[in-house]
């Protein structure tokens, strides 16, 4: 029997101790009419060898295409040590560290993660992670509306150049609580959010918060200082949505504007998490000290034990659902512990210099890719402002067909912007991280040129 250690003798001895005839007798409090015979539609069990064969075939079936899609999930090199250590049973099969004395490994690691995220974002405190970047932004918005005592408003300004899936996630999580998301249009030429666009919305205020994403969904860099000052002059809190790799080289939210952003969140996937079809990833959420009691999710603190020796424990649990129930800051229970383990080890291995090199290599590669593709007649940059590691490119032919033709040549040519931004159609959002080589990019460019020639 898979994963059940009992021998026939064990079963007999245990039943005798309980005083019943059969295991079935242990279910005698369940109404007879509810008990079922078998799960007919579930297949019979497989041996490990058989399921291995099946999974290997399926993993192979999806091929190993050359990937130039970013759009919120980025293909970075992950040092071998990251998942070898993360996969250790002591991390992999441990529970939430409620029993602190028996969980110091996980707790210290989470504290180190929190310290890394505050270092990267330039804010005071971090939680121990949320499900992913998009749901993390939803929690950040809920938190901002709760925390803003100066502006009692349920309206939050959200740029249209925020990741479309983040926008949808926000919609499904925050609108049932009566929060209204107000769209900020992006600049037609630059792809960024301009002060003029914000000023035009001012009459709809006041707003509890402004969401700023740096870089934005189009890869374009925002004038974060001006946007932050605009919002804070109107008592709106500033929520920065940021990429942790970009933060190695870009101004951290804590430094934005004259006072710094209030909250920063984002997707930690670029720190050691494989693409893995979209998850599991981990969201991070940092804020100023003043808002710490409004921060949702697990938080680890350093304290001392009975002997005065330093140790780590979950803290501020009075915010959480298992204590406060219907008065909690969120219903969230787990964090993404295992992914945070990977992110922490990954960040430690790369260090500040390593992350800078990755960021710079991503930027250089995406610039190079843009240059190569724009040599093809009809392909040109869609926006005229600087970008980090992704670019929106106008295409001279319908994108759906282009992407299909490229995929047939084992190239994933980018994210089709027209699907969510009909006004940009036909355009692709392309990304080349540090793992793409000059040869990879040449292959993409020559294939695209060939496909377009036949289009």
């Amino acid at each position: 029997m898979p994963f059940v250690p009992h021998t026939q003798d064990d079963i007999a001895a245990m039943l005798a101790a309980i005083g019943v005839e059969s295991i079935d007798a242990l279910f005698d409090e369940i109404p007879e009419a509810l008990r079922i015979g078998t799960l007919a539609a579930v297949p019979a069990g497989l041996a490990e060898m058989e399921i291995s064969r099946l999974m290997q075939a399926r993993a192979r079936a999806d091929g190993e295409p050359l990937c130039f899609i970013g759009a919120g999930a980025y293909d970075h090199h992950i040092p071998a040590a990251v998942w070898q250590i993360t996969s250790r049973g002591e991390f992999y099969s441990a529970y939430t560290p409620y029993q602190a004395e028996a969980s110091q490994g996980t707790l210290q690691l989470l504290y180190e993660f929190q310290s890394m995220m505050t270092a990267l974002t330039g804010l005071d405190v971090s939680n121990a992670s949320l499900y992913d970047g998009a749901s993390g932004l939803a929690e950040a918005v809920l938190m901002a509306v709760r925390a803003n005592r100066k502006v009692r408003s349920d309206k939050v300004l959200v740029p249209r150049n925020l990741h479309p899936a983040y926008r949808r996630t926000l919609q499904s999580i925050v609108t049932p609580q009566g929060i209204e998301l107000v769209d900020i249009p992006y600049d037609e030429e630059g792809g960024h959010i301009s002060l003029e666009a914000l000023n035009a919305l001012e009459s709809q205020g006041p707003f509890a918060a402004l969401v700023i994403n740096q870089p934005n969904f189009f890869g374009v860099l925002e004038e974060v200082d001006d946007l932050t000052d605009w919002a804070q002059a109107r008592e709106a809190l500033v929520i920065g949505v940021v990429n942790p790799i970009a933060l190695a080289v870009l101004s951290p939210p804590g430094d934005w504007g004259s006072q710094g952003a209030d909250i920063a969140c984002g997707e930690a996937q670029p720190l050691g998490m494989p693409l893995s079809s979209g998850g599991p990833y981990a969201g991070f959420l940092c804020c100023r000290q003043a808002f710490v009691r409004q921060l949702p999710g697990r938080i680890v603190g350093r304290t001392v034990d009975l002997d005065g020796k330093p140790g780590f424990t979950l803290t501020l649990q009075a915010r959480e659902q298992h204590i406060r129930r219907n008065k909690a800051t969120s219903n969230i229970c787990t964090n993404q512990g295992l992914l945070v383990t990977a992110a922490t080890i990954h960040t430690a291995l790369l260090g500040p210099e390593g992350l800078e090199r990755v960021a710079a290599a991503c930027h250089a590669n995406s610039q190079r890719l843009g240059t190569l593709l724009c040599e093809i007649p009809g392909v040109e940059p869609r926006f005229n402002r600087p970008s980090f590691h992704e670019q929106a490119l106008r295409m001279p032919a319908p994108t759906a067909e282009l992407l299909r033709a490229l995929a047939a040549q084992q190239i994933l040519g980018g994210c089709d912007l027209g699907l969510d931004y009909p006004e940009l159609d036909p355009a692709l959002l392309v990304c080349a991280t540090e793992v793409r080589t000059e040869e990879d990019m040449q292959t993409y460019a020559s294939t695209l040129a060939r496909v377009l020639a036949h289009a």
């Binding site: 999806d62 504290y111 659902q321």
Partner: protein
Amino acid sequence: MLIQEGSKPGRRATAQAPLTRHALDDLPVALRRRARAALPEVSELQAVRHYTRLSQQNFSIDTHMYPLGSCTMKYNPRACHSLAMLPGFLARHPLAPASHSQGFLACLFELQDILKEVTGMHAVSLAPAAGAQGELAGVAMIRAYHRARKDLARTEILVPDAAHGTNPASAVMCGFQVREIPTGSDGDVDIDALTRAVGPQTAGIMLTNPSTVGVFDRNIQRIAAEVHRAGGLLYYDGANLNAILGKVRPGDMGFDVIHMNLHKTFSTPHGGGGPGAGPVGVSARLEPYLPVPLVTREGAHYRWLTEADRPESIGRLTAFGGNMGILLRAYVYARLLGREGMRRVAEFATLNANYLMTQLRAAGFNAAYPQRRASHEFIITLKTEAKEFGVNAMDFAKRLLDYGYHAPTTYFPLLVPECLLIEPTESESKEDLDGFVAAMIAIRDEARTNPELVKTAPHRMPVRRLDDVRAARQLDLAWSPQA
């Protein structure tokens, strides 16, 4: 020592980063970081040693019995991990086209079907990233259902007082008020109180069955009928699904919506507190509201169903639609077990719980509901021991760590004083269970003869009992170079 404290300027794990240092001159200076982030600078060996040593300071299923009630800490088969980590699955981009996703989507489609059968529900979405997110989705669907019928007066969700804290918190996140229903002295929901509470304001009830007190609610069909008669819907919290896998199905009990915790019943790792996965299943009338994305099959071709296909969906809960790697692990586990293996999960989880309860009672411990069968878990109340020896449930829990057993869930559910909620799972052998009983007896002897020893436990862990009050009052949540 923290990794940050072992940092030395200029030390680097040089093999990890790109060899070339590219310029960033074309990025505006005003948008660039002025001072380098205070991240650790360590060698590769230093990092490997540091995190390997940290791992050794953890209890885990792989190293210790972990009878944590309501958490289903069973063995996480290694094959589930290694097969979900095959390079083809890891490298797949979430926005890869269907042409490059057929193998992956086949696994998810089949997992949806398996979960439908296991729960007796009409349709399943794998989207929620954890149990609490499944609850949020479930309650949001209840809300969407009533709103679609213009039945707008239903503002209340009923929750038994023994429920997990996530239940009331999730209901509030969907804009509902929560009304608590007491538990009767036999452990079942107080049916008279329920009857008084239901009415035209009832949107639904959230129930765990077997409940968090470790018994199967014998009145479940009556509860379903009462709530349905009042126009409310039934939400099943699948936290305890391990107890009934292959034996009874929530759909047959009358539930309209259910979430499953794959990190419990389907043995995906708890990972030190996540990632989980909390798929939701629904009856036919709630299908249009399921969170997206879903996987469908058209002929021999699999594809995603998104917002465009499901306009009435409650929407998207994460950017890319779920914890895919965890879903793959659950799929492998389900295929390894098969239909027979699933039934055995419930049978042996129940056998182990009843055996452990019997042995602890025989040793003189008090079960909270001695007249009832245990489901896959049960409650021991240490009220007598606390009174006689001044040693409480938390002291027992901490001392168990010294004996090499992770503590059971303590002080939950809140309605039983000095309680330990114990869930041995089907993974543990008779010898392991006997060892746990022996440890409990030994600790009680210590409580009698040397209570200080127990009250100051643990003594054999990397740290002694921690000052939680100080942790909350003198907040130290991040290392900084100045400190």
